[in-house]
Symmetry: C2
Subunit: 221 residues, 2 copies
Amino acid sequence: MPHTIALIGGTGPEGRGLAIRLALAGHTVTIGSRDAARGASVAAELAHTLAGRAHGALAGDANEGAVAAAEIVIVTVPYDGHRATLEALRSALAGKIVIDAAVPMRFERGPRPVDVPEGSATEEAAAILTASRVIGAFHNLSAEVLLDPDAPVDADVLVTGGDAEAKQIVIALANEIAGVRGVDAGPLRFSRFVEQITILLVGINGRYRAHSGVRIVGLDH
Amino acid sequence: MPHTIALIGGTGPEGRGLAIRLALAGHTVTIGSRDAARGASVAAELAHTLAGRAHGALAGDANEGAVAAAEIVIVTVPYDGHRATLEALRSALAGKIVIDAAVPMRFERGPRPVDVPEGSATEEAAAILTASRVIGAFHNLSAEVLLDPDAPVDADVLVTGGDAEAKQIVIALANEIAGVRGVDAGPLRFSRFVEQITILLVGINGRYRAHSGVRIVGLDH
């Protein structure tokens, strides 16, 4: 069943990459941006990338408008805008499934974690968005891979959260991206571990000149 | 080139499992224990498990004796004994490669991290063992899988540390275990992220009734 999905901060590499893959999976995707025209311009660019392929609708809008029309919202803002962005959208996000994909990371001679008082970006989102169904997911997929519709995605999406029904919807959403498997990675308090895997992957990408991802093995034993 | 390897706290499931796989790779392995007789008894039991297969020598000893004879030492003590065990062996471990595989984890309605002032068990080891070459590795392999010599191991070992030569030796050691690949996962300060993946895997094992591990994908792009 196709969803209407908004990406907050959807103009960055991770947001654009997820938009491509979710549109290819048949969903209606809105690229949210602080600037509606910028959102629309990125959506047009992504539609051009997908020309000739079957895909769901791609549009752009201001974050507020994108969120208002969506059932599911994915947060792909850089971490330094995370708290302020969510506080501003708090009432618009009430009642919706909010998937936090932000990684609290900064660069100073290599990637480093940013301390978050709540423990993780996802727990911070849950603390702000008390009327939303906050789930952590989509932290560990390579933006470079997602952005190239010909590149096979071969990776798991680790999903954390306390709302069991919302979590199953997000796992199913991940499974709809070709080559991706959603894995229930535990409660909200495990979100930090998943977010910080991205720091490991960014380091590995530099060291191995790769676009790496992660798979959990042994689930079929 | 076969190494002489001691496992400190080698009588637990992870220590015994690694002993089996390292002996199968042809290394000389000593199971260290606080009690030399207990180490010898576990070594005899593991040799019995490996009867009929080619393997390196397996013996047991007190931790001190096991360490004295070894070039490479792997620390597989439960985290609550980590600091005291390493402080007691500080001079015996001087000059040696010490691979820390301990995971700071406790159980209270599920697995949880234990806060380590130094950031991770491996950094704690490095702070205590200033004359050793401390590397983090072997945190994420399933003990249940390692313990069954017929079970294929299909997982990566994420290796952290600041001593580039020692790190390469540990990556090579991981690669010698059938089905395992060693991956350079970055500097010592990334050790926490690797250790905490084990908490995710323990949770996943419960949820999926699995013996899970982790693979980094995309390294061959």
